[in-house]
């Protein structure tokens, strides 16, 4: 990406052309960052600075209103929402990654008749839209008596297609000699997996894990229908709750709550940006 061979193919833009390109780049940056900037500054503005026109572009650093966060925290039980989101995201991600890793190892290294057909069946599940499974899964969970429970929130999301696919593709690229060496040493499959394959798959495990993590944290429609008591809601549903509660009269508090929802994801994104982008764009370049 940084090497000159792939850049600006065969034409050198004029000076004017370069100016136009930089203007477009700045416009793009503003369009992308504008809403985020607006969010973060509004979360810190005193009420008077929010309900004013023309808007205050730069909040006065001496009068930041941190109380917006406290307002949000009191308007809805966000502490509880966070705890629920953490539990569901952590256990859900661990469970899904366990399913995905075992399954990927089996498809990459173990012999079985009709393995390709089975893998096709697994991939086929990607064609099933979430809205088709919504009502039946709700009925299943309801029959189990799991409405408003962590099991109900977590279980339907444990099956993994995309993460399994990513991991299997990666495991197939591992050098055969390393695995053969493990076999000569008399290592069984469990030991080969834990001692050789998983350490060598660390980058892809991180990629798949982070993508799974973010998806579970952001999940909206399933937590919305499978819970109906306030103390079992997750953070994204909390925003909807706040909307009905506050009726959009207190933008400062609402923006503060929104900051709390996206900050964990943004932190993860900045640490694992490369892996997330590579994983999510994988299907296009390798598929």
């Amino acid at each position: 990406m940084t090497t000159s061979t792939v850049d600006s193919p065969a034409r050198r833009p004029s000076r004017g052309g370069r100016v136009v390109r930089y203007v477009l780049l700045v416009v793009l940056a503003c369009v992308v960052l504008g809403p985020i900037y607006w969010l973060v500054t509004s979360a810190l503005k005193p009420t008077a600075d929010i309900y004013t026109y023309p808007p205050t572009w730069l909040p006065n650093p001496l009068h930041l209103r941190w109380a917006n966060f406290a307002d949000a925290w009191h308007a809805a039980p966000f502490g509880r929402f966070f705890l629920n989101s953490l539990i569901v995201t952590a256990i859900g991600t661990a469970g899904e990654m366990l399913c995905a890793t075992l399954c990927a190892y089996a498809f990459a290294f173990l012999r079985f008749p009709f393995k390709k057909v089975l893998f096709g069946i697994l991939l086929g599940a990607m064609m099933v839209p979430g809205h088709v499974t919504l009502l039946p899964n709700y009925l299943t969970i309801s029959d189990l008596g799991w409405i408003n429970t962590y099991q109900g929130l977590i279980f339907p999301g444990l099956g993994s297609v995309f993460a399994t696919f990513l991991l299997r593709q990666h495991m197939l690229t591992l050098p055969g000699e390393v695995l053969d060496a493990a076999k000569v040493d008399g290592a069984g499959h469990l030991r080969t997996m834990f001692r050789v394959v998983l350490p060598l798959s660390r980058p892809m495990l991180i990629t798949a894990g982070v993508i799974t993590l973010v998806a579970k944290w952001n999940d909206f429609i399933w937590p919305l229908i499978v819970t109906n008591s306030t103390n079992m809601r997750t953070v994204p549903i909390g925003l909807l709750f706040l909307k009905t509660q506050e009726g959009y009269n207190n933008w400062g508090a609402i923006m503060a709550a929104t900051v709390l929802v996206i900050v964990p994801v943004l932190v993860v994104f900045f640490f694992a940006q490369r892996q997330i982008v590579a994983g999510l764009t994988q299907g296009a370049t390798k598929g």
């Binding site: 792939v6 026109y53 499974t133 952001n218 933008w251």
Partner: protein, 320 residues
């Protein structure tokens, strides 16, 4: 053990000899069997969840679509295809389909065009392009609920970010989310903002893969930038375009969280797309039959779109 075996020394010698020979086929099978069992043990957890929560629901949903069932009552009545004929002759549902088409086309076409334009721009050697590329990707992974909330404030006609921007052009910012004319375009704008960076990133990877010699050859032939783009860049990107159109279409059909936060399908039913309709029927009206039938229609439409796009693009993809 030795006390018992001692009298039959000759036989024990035989067994030792058999152990030295290459193992007979009978002994190989258990080793395969162990590997097969291990394979099953490894895939069973994943397959269990995928079958119970993805495949079984499709069958269950198909069955529900043939019944009339108020979810609060215990009785399901088999009604054949009545739910489907109800829906397809219902004015509200036909409105929903029309709105869904506008919504999906607007978002898919819009984000493809914007994404490709951004990719071409970011493919130039510009200072700061790496930063902008990273930032443009970020909305793709943010919670839709959060994005919806942010944009609701931006769209606020009095105190929102758009008022001064419209003000520069001497216009009043419309009352986006409470107007049945502006709510749908408003939602489309938000989804464009969310999608364009992801699409640009995938396109960028595609642009890097176009062989440089093609551009050199075009330059020698005196081809202008637009001509080069149309005759080389765009055709070479067609596999990427194919992938993106399908995934964006499938994703857009299932749009939900931003709508839930911003419009709740309204005002009236001006932003009720198919996914919202299904949710409404199932979890607000408790009408399982019509919800299931609408969901089956969505499933069929998505499969047809995937198949059509595959056939249509087959001819355009990969001609070099």
């Amino acid at each position: 053990m030795s006390a018992v075996d001692a009298p039959a020394g000759a036989r024990s010698g035989d067994t030792a000899g058999a152990g030295d020979r290459p193992p007979p086929p009978r002994r190989r099978r258990p080793r395969h069997l162990r590997e097969y069992l291990l394979f099953l043990a490894f895939i069973v957890p994943n397959f269990f969840f995928v079958i119970v929560f993805a495949y079984w629901p499709v069958l269950y949903n198909a069955y529900l679509s043939l019944t009339s069932w108020n979810m609060l009552a215990p009785v399901k009545e088999f009604v054949g295809l009545a739910n489907y004929t109800d829906l397809l002759t219902d004015g509200d549902f036909l409105d929903t389909l029309r709105i869904t088409v506008v919504f999906v086309l607007g978002i898919v076409l819009g984000s493809m065009v914007l994404g490709l334009a951004i990719a071409v721009l970011l493919n130039e050697r510009l200072v700061g392009r790496g930063f902008v590329r990273t930032m443009a990707f970020a909305p793709h992974i943010l919670s839709g609920a959060a994005i919806g909330t942010i944009w609701l404030f931006i769209f606020d006609p009095n105190y929102g970010l758009l008022r001064p921007i419209f003000g520069v052009a001497g216009l009043a910012s419309p009352n986006w989310m409470t107007s049945s004319t502006w709510a749908l375009p408003g939602l489309i704008i938000v989804y464009l903002w969310k999608n364009m960076g992801f699409i640009a990133t995938v396109y960028l990877a595609g642009l890097q893969n176009v062989p440089r010699e093609l551009y050199e050859a075009a330059a020698i032939d005196g081809s202008g930038p637009w001509h080069t783009f149309r005759k080389i860049t765009f055709p070479m990107l067609s596999p990427v375009t194919f992938f993106l159109v399908i995934t964006t279409t499938i994703g857009t059909f299932q749009a939900f969280d931003i709508i839930a936060l911003m419009t709740g399908g309204g005002p009236g039913n001006s932003t009720t797309i198919l996914s919202w309709f299904i949710y409404q029927q199932a979890f607000k009206a408790f009408d399982a039959g019509h919800a299931a039938a609408a969901a089956m229609l969505m499933f069929v439409v998505l499969i047809i779109i995937t198949a059509l796009q595959a056939r249509f693009l087959e001819r355009k993809v990969h001609y070099r």
